[in-house]
């Protein structure tokens, strides 16, 4: 008795090959469609925005004249906000992840917390805006400051940072920990000297991607009421400020058509900032990975 019926195999072969090719092409199409959207987006932005994008655009404040408008206040404001978001969200996020992964007992309660963190990552950003408005801006009296906006954004990206950090920590093989314990290291020494260094590429990738989201997010800023007409640079963390997405949003709403192009130039600045941040993420990841 033959295990393989060569006749049926031969008969079905062409159908199988066809199916194989079909699926390959479907997936290729999916990739191409996503790429096409990206290329069109990039082309539109660059073709519309480059005319206004120059050195002065980075140095001028916003203006009622499109040719004089610039992103100075917003760019500095966004970076200043990031200076709050980065330490707060990374410290809280990585801390929470370490506790959940290394210390917490695996029981129903931690499972419940875990589930809620994942759910929190899916909450619309406008809800965090309302939270920030009631707690930071009004209850704690921070006003529409860099601090209030930064803390709101930190809360917004915290679940994403926690989940990313948890996954990175979970990916550290147990035998590294066991070896460390075997050498007589305490739990904290193990976490500090063994787990964190090997988890850091993952943590940073997730963290910086989350920061990129914070810098591009508009809805919470609108809800907090971040002003757009700002002709000064922030002087401290309690200073009022404006941010890039707010300014772009405002420009896009202007009646004059030229401001659509100014908005495109603003988007380009935001994109360059994002690409810059992401390349820092890649650079740090590579640098740390070489150690292991």
């Amino acid at each position: 008795m033959a295990y393989i019926n060569h006749e049926t195999v031969a008969k079905k072969l062409s159908v199988r090959r066809l199916k194989n090719n079909l699926w390959k092409n479907v997936f290729l199409l999916a990739l191409l469609l996503a790429l096409a959207a990206l290329v069109i987006l990039g082309y539109r932005m660059i073709s519309q925005g480059t005319a206004y994008l120059n050195w002065e655009f980075l140095q001028n404040f916003s203006s009622r004249f499109p040719e004089k408008a610039g992103v100075h206040a917003a760019l500095i404001g966004s970076i200043a906000m990031l200076a709050i978001v980065a330490p707060v969200s990374l410290f809280l996020g990585v801390g929470a992840a370490i506790y959940l992964e290394e210390y917490a007992k695996k029981n129903k309660f931690t499972q419940f917390i875990q589930m809620n963190i994942s759910n929190l990552a899916g909450v619309p950003s406008i809800v965090f805006g309302l939270l920030g408005l009631t707690i930071f801006v009004r209850m704690l009296g921070m006003g529409k400051s860099i601090l209030a906006a930064g803390l709101t954004m930190s809360l917004l990206i915290l679940p994403v940072v926690i989940v990313a950090a948890q996954e990175a920590i979970r990916a550290v093989p147990d035998h590294l920990r066991e070896a460390s314990f075997g050498m007589g290291a305490t739990k904290w020494q193990t976490i500090y000297k063994v787990v964190l260094p090997s988890a850091i590429p993952g943590i940073l990738t997730g963290g910086i991607l989350a920061l990129s989201r914070a810098i591009g997010e508009t809805a919470p800023l609108v809800v907090i009421g971040i002003p757009v007409i700002v002709q000064f640079l922030p002087t401290g963390i309690l200073s009022e400020f404006t941010a890039l997405p707010m300014l772009i949003f405002d420009w896009a709403k202007r009646p004059q058509e030229e401001f659509q192009y100014v908005a495109a130039a603003g988007i380009l600045v935001l994109m360059i900032l994002l690409i810059f941040m992401n390349s820092i993420a890649v650079w740090i990841r590579n640098k740390f990975q070489k150690r292991y």
Partner: protein, 317 residues
């Protein structure tokens, strides 16, 4: 920091002295103090933080003023948000802002809340706007409508409206509505003064972004929309303006009030307490001195001259 503190101290003490004199009812004293205040404000470098928020209709005027003011007093930090008239008043009531831009007068309930919170304010009229009714370029049946027809078109009657429902000669096609969002003063003004507080057609597309309305009306032959005069001016070639009772909104008809009932004043509401600070006082004086010309340059219309005269008398500038 020490220099900064010194300037703050001197300006606070100076303002206390100055306003002590201003608060007096004596007219002679008032005029003497005002002359000294205006002379100091132009030469002295002031410092301070001023926050405002409110109408997106007023914001182009405000932006121009803030931009020019920053050149004269670079150390006074003025920030202005654009949350719409209603959103602006909400922050004003909460005590978060020193002034609020509005494209309609303050509502009774807002005034009550302000009273409850103990916030005294002054209303300044800074310019005029004409709410412009626009239709698609290819709309050849509407030229001129009466206020009554306008009301009929926009009033919600529970069913879908066709042009032919308003006038038998008009096409038998459904009307598409485009209106500013409910947070905007333009919406409030329209519902108040044209619809007499009755429901605006519920099928209307509402947007806080006036460019969305422009694009909507531009793309649909059966569309009708309304928004501030400046947006119409900037998109003149794409839209068709509708005359109301035979009057087209132009610079002159809006200023004279002939374009009625859709000519409306634009306001700035300033907190009296903030006005006691020299920086805020200086900024408001500057605003009201330049509001008329700035309004003209961004597409609105100056208020009649005596309005500004009265304001200047009030502020003693």
């Amino acid at each position: 920091m020490k220099k900064w503190q010194y300037v703050m101290m001197t300006s606070v003490v100076g303002s206390a002295l100055l306003l002590g004199a201003c608060g007096n009812d004596n007219a002679a004293k008032d005029s003497s103090s005002s002359s000294s205040s205006s002379s100091t404000s132009s030469s002295e470098k002031l410092e301070g933080k001023i926050a405002g928020d409110g109408s997106s209709t007023v914001s182009p005027i405000m932006e121009g003023i803030v931009e020019e003011y920053a050149a004269t007093q670079p150390n006074v930090q003025v920030s202005v948000g654009v949350s719409g008239t209603g959103g602006g008043f909400e922050k004003f009531i909460n005590g978060e802002t020193d002034f609020s831009n509005a494209s309609r007068p303050v509502k009774e309930e807002e005034a009550e809340k302000l009273k409850e919170k103990g916030i005294d304010y002054t209303q300044f009229e800074i310019a005029y706007d004409g709410i412009s009714i626009v239709v698609n370029k290819n709309n050849d049946w509407i030229e001129d409508i009466t206020t009554k027809q306008l009301e009929e078109i926009w009033l919600d009657n529970g069913k879908k409206k066709k042009w032919s429902d308003i006038n038998k000669d008009w096409p038998n096609e459904e009307i598409k509505f485009y209106s500013p969002g409910t947070d905007s003063g333009t919406y409030d003004y329209f519902v108040n003064d044209v619809l007499e507080e009755k429901q605006l057609d519920k099928s209307a597309t509402l947007s806080e972004d006036d460019n969305v309305l422009v694009k909507g009306v531009e793309a649909d032959k059966n569309a009708i929309g309304f928004f501030g005069f400046a947006y119409y001016l900037a998109n003149k070639d794409k839209l068709k303006i509708v005359k109301i009772n035979g009057v087209e909104p132009t610079h002159d008809t809006i200023q004279s009030g002939e374009y009625t009932p859709l000519s409306r004043p634009l306001f700035v509401y300033a907190k009296n307490k903030s006005l006691e600070e020299p920086a805020m006082y200086d900024f408001m004086s500057y605003t009201l001195k330049h509001a008329g010309e700035m309004a003209e340059s961004v597409g609105y219309v100056k208020s009649p001259d005596d309005v500004y005269k009265k304001i200047k008398q009030h502020l003693k500038i």
